[in-house]
C-alpha cells in the first residue's frame, strides 16, 4: 500500500475529489451495463409470452366462431376452453 493512512488514501494529496469522482462514475457505467440487459430481458420475455398467448387465443376463438375442428368430440372440448379464455380476458 502506498498510502500511510485511510485519510491519506481518501485525500490523495489534494486530488481525492477528482480521482474518487472518476472512479464513482466508472462504477455507475459498469452498473448501468449490467442492469440494462437484465431489465431488457424481463421485458422481452413478457412480450414474447404475451404474443404466444395471443396467437393461441386467436386460434381458439376462430374455432369457436367458425365451428371448425377435426372431430366433434375434440371441438366441443376446445370450444369450452376457448369460451372460458374469452370470458377471462373480458373480465
Amino acid at each position: 500500500m502506498y498510502f500511510d493512512s485511510w485519510s491519506g488514501f481518501l485525500a490523495m494529496e489534494g486530488h481525492g475529489l477528482y480521482v474518487w469522482s472518476a472512479y464513482a462514475i466508472a462504477l455507475a457505467v459498469i452498473a448501468y451495463n449490467l442492469i440494462a440487459p437484465l431489465m431488457a430481458k424481463r421485458r422481452v420475455i413478457v412480450q414474447v409470452r404475451r404474443q404466444v398467448r395471443l396467437v393461441q387465443r386467436k386460434v381458439i376463438v376462430n374455432e369457436v366462431t367458425t365451428g371448425s375442428g377435426d372431430d366433434t368430440e375434440n371441438r366441443t372440448e376446445r370450444q369450452e376452453e376457448g369460451l372460458e379464455s374469452v370470458k377471462r380476458s373480458a373480465q
Binding site: 502506498y2 490523495m12 486530488h15 477528482y18 480521482v19 457505467v29 451495463n33 430481458k41 420475455i45 414474447v48
Partner: protein, 244 residues
C-alpha cells in the same frame, strides 16, 4: 475445409446455445480483473512525479477510451458483414454494441475532463483529440437514434450499417490526432511497436484494467445479444419453447 462452422456462426440459435456456456466465465473473469486492477491502481502504485495522484484516473480513462474506439471498429465490421452477406446475427450485434460503446465513450470523455482540471487547469478544450472523441459519441448517438427512427428491421439494418461504415473514418483521426496536431492531450503511452513510456509498476495494473474492460464488454455484449436473439426470433419454435 469444413464450412459448417462458418454457417453455424451466423445461426442465432447456435450462438444462443454456445454463449450460455461462456457467461459464467466472462462474469467472474471480467469483474475480478477490473476489481484487482483498480484496487492496485488506486492504492498500491506510486504517484506520478509530475501529476501526483490525479494520474490514477488513467486506469479508467485509458481502458474506456480504447474500448470506445474498438467497439466502433467492431460495429463497422459487423456493418460490412450485414451489407455483404446479409447475416442477421451481424445486424443484431451492430444494434447491441452501440449503447455499450456510447456508455464507454461518455466515461472516457467525463474522466478525461475530471483529469484535465487538475492537470491542464481546464475541464475542456477544443483540441483535436477531444473534439474527435466527442464526434465519436455523436456517431454512437446517431446510430442509436437512426435505428429508433426506422421501424422495418431490414431498412434499419441497412441504414445503420451505412452510417457505421461512413463514421469509421473518425477512428484514425482520433488515433493520430496527437501526432498530426499540436494537442493539449498527451501522446500515446502504449504503443505496439515501442516499449511503453511507463514504469512497470504502473503499466501492469493498466494492462490488467484494459483486459478486464474488454472482457466486461464481451460479457455485456453477449448478454444483450442473447436478448436481441429472443426478441427477433420470437416466431421460431425454439424461442417459444424457451420462454414458456
Amino acid at each position: 475445409m469444413n464450412w459448417t462452422f462458418f454457417h453455424k456462426l451466423g445461426s442465432p440459435k447456435w450462438f444462443y446455445d454456445i454463449s450460455g456456456k461462456w457467461l459464467p466465465w466472462l462474469q467472474v473473469l471480467s469483474l475480478v480483473l477490473i476489481l484487482v486492477a483498480l484496487v492496485w491502481g488506486l492504492a498500491f502504485t506510486p504517484p506520478d512525479y509530475l501529476q501526483g495522484n490525479s494520474y490514477r484516473i488513467i486506469f479508467i480513462h485509458v481502458p474506456a477510451s480504447f474500448l470506445a474506439q474498438s467497439v466502433y471498429v467492431m460495429m463497422a465490421t459487423a456493418a460490412a458483414v450485414t451489407l455483404i452477406w446479409k447475416i442477421k446475427l451481424a445486424d443484431m450485434a451492430l444494434k447491441v454494441m452501440a449503447p455499450i460503446g456510447a456508455s464507454f465513450c461518455i466515461l472516457s470523455l467525463v474522466t478525461g475532463a475530471i483529469w484535465g482540471q487538475p492537470t491542464w487547469g481546464t475541464w475542456w478544450v477544443w483540441d483535436a483529440r477531444l473534439t474527435a472523441m466527442l464526434i465519436l459519441l455523436f456517431l454512437y448517438i446517431g446510430i442509436i437514434a437512426l435505428r429508433g427512427a426506422i421501424h422495418t428491421t431490414e431498412a434499419a439494418a441497412k441504414a445503420c450499417s451505412i452510417l457505421s461504415l461512413v463514421g469509421v473514418v473518425n477512428i484514425p483521426i482520433i488515433k493520430f490526432s496527437v501526432d498530426w496536431w499540436n494537442t493539449l492531450h498527451q501522446g500515446a503511452t502504449l504503443k505496439l511497436t515501442e516499449k511503453p513510456s511507463m514504469a512497470a509498476e504502473m503499466l501492469w495494473p493498466l494492462l490488467l484494467a484494459i483486459l478486464g474492460f474488454y472482457l466486461f464488454f464481451t460479457l455485456v455484449m453477449v448478454l444483450r445479444l442473447r436478448i436481441e436473439i429472443i426478441s427477433r426470433e420470437r416466431k421460431t419454435r425454439w424461442v417459444k419453447e424457451l420462454v414458456s
